[in-house]
Amino acid sequence: MIELAHVSKWYGPAQVLDDCSMTIAKGEVVVICGPSGSGKSTLIKCINGLEPFSKGTITVDGISVGDRATNLPKLRSRIGMVFQSFELFPHMTACENIVLAQQKVLARNREAAVAKASELLARMGLAEHASKYPAQLSGGQQQRVAIARALAMDPIAMLFDEPTSALDPEMITEVLDVMVKLAEDGMTMAVVTHEMGFARKVADRVVFMDQGSIVEDADKEAFFGTPRSQRAQLFLSKILQH
């Protein structure tokens, strides 16, 4: 469903992505990990064209992301994205956050959009928070609203960019629980995260990145068993120490 072929990207003279290739099949959950600055966030933002890339091709559901003729807003509306710092719209209630793009992009009528929002908020365990503003919600609640906002568009795939990195430890679980459920329901997911517990539980594959390149792309068992690259072994030994 998502295919990256030889994707490279430069910021001026600095190369941030170096010949990255990978595929994500329908229903697959791929966890992308690696040290900070390894380019994993940049890579995931290339998938829905939020970050332009300099070389290579990315196709989502057969549509080329880098093609100038591609209707990017339309493509993006079919790919959900969840950000590290939630990025809910602060001037709208939780419900309005979820309704906005349904109405403006999918042209759903208001009743249908609100119904969808209520249903999703209930699924996230946030039914009673529909009319609250983001500032009145905890980080974990905000992130779940953000997930609901993305799901409301009935996406064919979901991209998560470090969805729990900005959360207090006790709130990480409530967000991960939602993501686990989503994975179990068969959603196609690309998740940038350091949560190795999550990766062990639901990932099909783990992609390890370092200095802009994909160093390892392996089945979960293989990755956690014996990662082939030294760099990945070192990384794992460091983050799994405690």
Binding site: K45, N48, L50, L72, P73, K74, L75, R76, S77, R78, I79, G80, M81, F83, S85, E87, L88, F89, P90, H91, L100, A101, K104, V105, L106, Y133, R149, A150, M153
Partner: protein, 219 residues
């Protein structure tokens, strides 16, 4: 403490003062709305990717902001009739001067407001499939306006106070009218005190009104 003062003078001259007030309010409202409209256009142009236009606007804004308002009023009073080849009433030449002048300030406030919205908010809007225009309209501008309101209000109050400069082209705004009465009847204390109180009340109510609007619309 007010022994020897005659506040009846205000009542006697009420219609005259009211006419001055009307001119002040009229000028303020027209200049603020015109300045805002032109200011939005200038701000958007300056943020646009058409560089020559952006530079032109930058030049305009910096130029006008370094001029004293009174000089701008003089210019337009002498310039506009020459440009269009026929005399223009003091009111219109002053109004044009105010609009052009205020627009320079408003455009800077609006530009700062738009820039104050965090970049990732735009990413989030785009990730949902909103177009650039829709992101601007539904995500950026509402947040920008909320950030701009206090400064826009301050600028508009300054505008209200600056209307008194129109005396230089012979118009009678509120302060000028009060001044005329004060010197004619030799009652400066009463008149200037009154003017101060009126300005205080108008400005105070304006800021109260804006605060109420902000709460009402959860801006």
């Amino acid at each position: 403490m007010f022994a020897g003062f005659d506040f009846g003078i205000l009542w006697l001259n009420a219609p005259f003062l009211w006419n001055g007030m009307l001119l002040t309010l009229q000028l303020t409202l027209l200049a603020v709305s015109g300045g805002l409209l032109l200011g939005i256009v200038l701000a958007v142009t300056r943020l646009s990717s058409i560089k020559p236009l952006a530079w032109l606007v930058e030049g305009y804004v910096n130029f006008l902001r370094s001029m004293p308002l009174i000089l701008v009023i003089f210019w337009f009073y002498t310039l506009v009739p020459k440009l269009i080849g026929r005399p223009v009433s003091g009111f219109y030449s002053v109004l044009i001067a105010f609009v052009m002048f205020e627009a320079a300030y408003y455009s800077e406030i609006i530009r700062a407001g738009i820039s104050s919205v965090r970049r990732p908010q735009i990413s989030a809007a785009k990730a949902l499939g909103l177009t650039n225009l829709q992101s601007m309209r539904y995500v950026v501008l509402p947040q920008a306006v909320r950030n701009m309101i206090p400064v826009l209000l301050t600028q508009s109050i300054i505008m209200l106070q600056d209307t008194s400069l129109v005396y230089v082209v012979g118009l009678r705004d509120f302060l000028t009218s009060a001044d005329i009465v004060a010197s004619r009847d030799n009652r400066p204390t009463e008149l200037y005190l009154f003017v101060a109180i009126v300005f205080l009340v108008v400005c105070f109510s304006a800021s109260r009104l804006v605060n109420r609007l902000r709460r009402r619309y959860a801006l």
